[in-house]
Amino acid sequence: MSVTPFDAASVTMPAEGTSLWKSARRRLVRNRAAMGGLIVLTIIAALAILAPYISAHAMDDISWENIGTPPDWASGYYFGTDSNGRDLFARTLYGARVSLMVGILASIVSLVIGVIYGAVAGYLGGTVDNVMMRIVDILYSLPFMFFVILLTVFFGRNILLIFVAIGAVQWLDMARIVRGQTMALKHREFIEAAHAFGASSTAIVRRHIIPNILGPVMVFVTLTVPQVILLESFLSFLGLGVQEPMTSWGVLISDGAREMETAPWSLLFPATFLAVTLFALNFLGDGLRDALDPKDR
């Protein structure tokens, strides 16, 4: 199979990061889908922040007369109430706070660790790669539930622990994928050329490897976000995630799933919010990928 240089342009990529970012931003702004996604995300974030001002009821107020009632515009229960008689509109908006934060931050944590770890292992190869990947195998195998239980026991309840717990598992897949891509790139001529020009390993990984694997990485991040948001509700189950009366989309959806037949609104609204967010993130992710893609320049 004849393989021509992957992309000669990337060897002569501009050295200054600023112009790279500037042109990336310009391309991103021109991408209508990505901008649409960004606007939707901004609206949802704004709703989450403004939740107390736009909902008619407090998120933790119980109305004994309105237990599990369907959406009703007149009474201010726009999304209906849950089985404790609390306003689902307010709760969905408050849930966005936790879920957006956890979804985005935890994904970024796993992205950063996974990409660096995977790129280093894939680029260096040999024994280093072998040891690094065996560590990944070990972390995959350890019982996650006990890890979470021990976290709660030793560190109590702390929002930061959610990121630690989720980050600890989510970066593994990312590392495996990045490593695979890096290994494939390593043998491409333009990397070898950069090497011949005397570029250091760090520089090659940073300038040539990572930008060239952003495609699959971005796609994978958009897959990670929903996983992370739903994983958070499992952490709540173990006593690590959010505590009542605070809530999250993951918790709302798993509560709603139980009543999908008798109270469909309790599933429908949080699930729709989650779906819309993920679509928006997806468009934004694709746009980011295109904007940062060195081949498109």
Binding site: D60, D61, I62, W64, I67, G68, S83, N84, G85, R86, I149, T152, V153, R157, S236, F237, L238, G239, Q243, E244, P245, D255, R258, E259, E261, T262, A263
Partner: protein
């Protein structure tokens, strides 16, 4: 009196059998198979080692003890046809039915009970429930390895038909106690032959109305009619299938799709839907159990602060909780021992019948006297183990406390085993969820729990007077005096308020209209041998 009733019953049976034998035969469906949701996978079918209710359900069908508790909660002869008690209340002599057999056709004698009960207290067996045997002479010493001679247990078989038990001290509830599944007999020959594999299908030899045919872990257990059962002639079912279904919503769906005849549970958030769509199929029976919130009496803020405990307990609108949250006929609880134990009068808090507004007004006073108020609100942490139902109840309780008294409540949920551990340590807990289900239908099963040295007294309740009353009651032969002492003890509890009762449990199941004779008693027991499937 008893005789006339028996006569009347006999007459009715005679009438039935002469006038409508054909109709009776036609009513039964051809396929006498009961398909039963049974919660989760049983831990074991070894009755001496079992711990869980779903194990015991199966065991009561597969095995049979000396006596059973019938649907009305009455002690009824089973493998024993009669028994006598010595005047000092120390010796029980059970007369076994003639011609009892194991499912493999070998005879069952009093020696089998001797073997099984010794096996239960033998430390080598590793039975968690061996303490139920403690009223029997030497049982406690054997179970705790103080006495190494298992044979010294107070049980013997003077002849193959007679099983004699000697107690440590008179125990008024002894016959009720031995209806518990931990007292079921096991087959010695099969245990010696198969060791720890004796409960497998094909190996298991039992003496109940049904015998094990198939056991596929996490999938199903199939039991078929035991032809060697003494009353096999009146057993209608040919087969019982037990399905371990952990997810209550899916269990209900399988029931609705016709894959199950009886469910193990009913999800409370589906109750309104069920009442509307499946009227008459929801069966609710009181269950001897108490759902309560414990106060940690060893730490502030509840240590030595009775007024605060009282104030908090008073503002809980239990009627609202059972009507709007649990929804399945649970009874609001104001006593420690739930009602429903024959001859026992539960002791209630004195504000039981006070209307809610008056209660809240009184609670506000007490709250103030306890040193709290709007400017100095109580910051309270409520701890519970993760579960949908608990969560809903805790949210309601927190809201009630906040609304009435302005208490700032933080809810903390923990994974079950972590929760148990935290609760037991009595260090960080303040107010915590707890529950207790009776082991046998006697107030003693509740009274014991609040003794200062009881394993589950996670409140740290310590009232010497209470301990003394419960201990003396256990040694009292005269049933009336014994009950009186236990009632006096409970009176102390509702005064001291080491916990606040919330509601008394119920057992709830979906039962198809064509399933006849599936009767639950207040202990949640049912016997498939009484069940038949009507034509449908």
């Amino acid at each position: 009196m008893l005789r006339t009733r028996a006569f009347g019953f006999g007459m009715a049976v005679a009438l039935l059998s002469t006038t409508a034998p054909l109709a009776w035969a036609q009513e039964l469906a051809e396929n006498q198979v009961l398909r039963l949701g049974n919660g989760s996978e049983p831990q074991t079918l070894d009755p001496q080692i079992s711990e869980n209710t779903q194990d015991s359900h199966l065991e009561r069908d597969l095995y049979e003890g000396l006596v059973i508790i019938d649907k009305d909660g009455k002690v009824t002869p089973a493998q024993a046809e009669s028994w006598t008690v010595s005047p000092d209340g120390l010796t029980y002599s059970f007369k076994l039915r003639a011609g009892l057999k194991w499912s493999d056709g070998t005879p069952l004698t009093a020696e089998d009970f001797v073997y099984s009960w010794r096996r239960a207290v033998d430390p080598a067996t590793g039975s968690k429930y061996s303490f139920l045997y403690y009223p029997i002479k030497n049982a406690e010493d054997i179970a705790t390895a103080v006495n190494k001679d298992v044979k010294s247990l107070g049980v013997r078989a003077p002849d193959p038909q007679t099983f004699e038990v000697t107690l440590k001290s008179p125990t008024g509830y002894f016959v009720r106690l031995i209806s518990h599944a931990r007292f079921l007999p096991v087959n010695r020959a099969s245990i010696e032959k198969y060791g720890n594999q004796f409960t497998r299908a094909g190996n298991l030899v039992t003496n109940g109305a049904f015998m094990l045919k198939e056991w596929t872990p996490q999938s199903r257990i199939v039991a078929v009619k035991n032809p060697n059962y003494w009353d096999a002639a009146s057993v209608k079912l040919s087969e019982v299938d037990y399905y371990p279904i952990e997810n209550q919503n899916e269990e209900l769906k399988r029931y609705r799709a016709g894959e199950l005849d009886v469910t193990n549970e009913v999800p409370s958030d589906q109750v309104d839907f069920i009442r509307k769509e499946l009227p008459g199929e929801l069966t609710i029976v009181p269950y001897l159990g108490s759902y309560y919130m414990g106060f940690n009496l060893e730490q502030p803020p509840f240590k030595g602060n009775l007024k605060l405990r009282e104030a908090l307990s008073m503002v809980i609108d239990r009627e609202a909780i059972v009507a709007k949250i649990t929804k399945t006929g649970e009874q609001p609880a104001y006593s420690w021992v739930p009602p429903g134990i024959a001859g026992y009068q539960p002791q209630y808090v004195d504000w039981k019948d006070m209307p809610m507004p008056a209660r809240i007004a009184k609670a506000k006073e007490l709250y103030k006297e306890a040193g709290y108020g709007p400017d100095k609100p109580l910051n309270l942490e409520i701890m519970y183990n993760t579960s949908e139902n608990h969560k809903k109840i805790m949210i309601a309780i927190a809201a009630m406390m906040k609304q009435a008294l302005g208490v700032n409540v933080t809810l903390v949920n923990q994974e079950f085993k972590v929760f148990l551990e935290t609760r037991k340590e009595k260090k960080v807990t303040q107010l915590f969820r707890a529950g207790w289900i009776a082991d046998y239908a006697d107030p003693n099963t509740f009274a014991e729990l609040l003794q200062s040295d009881a394993g589950l007294n996670d409140m740290g309740y310590n009232n010497p007077e209470y301990d003394k009353l419960v201990k003396t009651a256990a040694l009292t032969v005269d049933p009336e005096k014994r009950i009186q002492m236990l009632q006096d003890a409970e009176k102390l509890v509702v005064h001291d308020l080491p916990m606040m009762p919330i509601y008394d449990y119920v057992n709830k199941r979906m039962i198809k209209p064509y399933v006849k004779g599936f009767d639950l008693n207040t202990l949640g027991y049912f016997y498939s041998k009484n069940v038949s499937i009507a034509k449908h």
